[in-house]
Symmetry: C2
Subunit: 94 residues, 2 copies
DNA sequence: TAGCCTGTTAGCTATTTAGCTAAATAGCTA
DNA sequence: TAGCTATTTAGCTAAATAGCTAACAGGCTA
């Protein structure tokens, strides 16, 4: 769980996840969307992968990254549960 | 929002929040519950305060810390919203 | 007011992080 | 197989993080 929150601590990594929410992308496609070098992006991919938040798929020449929603959900809902944050935005029927 | 996720990235800080969920505590009470020095704990308080996640109240000699639930909720639910994570653990009626 | 708590600030160290360029690896294609 | 493309690894630097001890400051109380 800690490794997940550490991964979420960087804005670029959250933005990567947000981008992947819209569908899988290659490392290059993702990197092009940000203003840092590819090696730096590769480092971010590594942390996200380490946290289990994304999954890499070798696709011929390139690598297709996809988000692992269940891991993200489990972490967020799990933490919210521990914190007693209602998981419902409206209704509030505890 | 970034400052909040950075604050949540450290396990001790998440544990502090979890402890405060059960009610306000003085700095000393909180510090006693963890195995690091008081100055280190003071640093954690500072980051949590900076993120708006806790609130300090001078109570005579000591400082009473309380959690700021609305800030935490807003950040978590906001991020979940952006990520398309359903805020409902069951039902899933999109 | 002198001393005692409580908590923070100062100042230090070691480690980690995030960024870079250059080089290496892996797969495709001519 | 030579070369091209895509991505990672290596190796570096600067800055941030988390920890410590020692010293300071604010508020009680004898």
């Amino acid at each position: 769980m800690n490794v997940i929150f550490e991964a979420l601590a960087h804005p670029t990594r959250r933005a990567i996840l947000e981008m992947l929410k819209g569908g899988s992308r290659t490392a290059g496609e993702i990197a092009d969307a940000f203003d840092v070098s590819k090696p730096t992006m590769s480092g971010h991919f590594h942390k996200l992968k380490e946290a289990g938040l994304i999954h890499a798929d070798q696709r011929g020449n390139s690598i297709l990254y996809s988000i692992n929603m269940s891991v993200l959900e489990e972490a967020l809902l799990g933490f919210m549960g521990k914190m007693g944050v209602s998981a419902r935005t409206e209704g509030e029927a505890t």
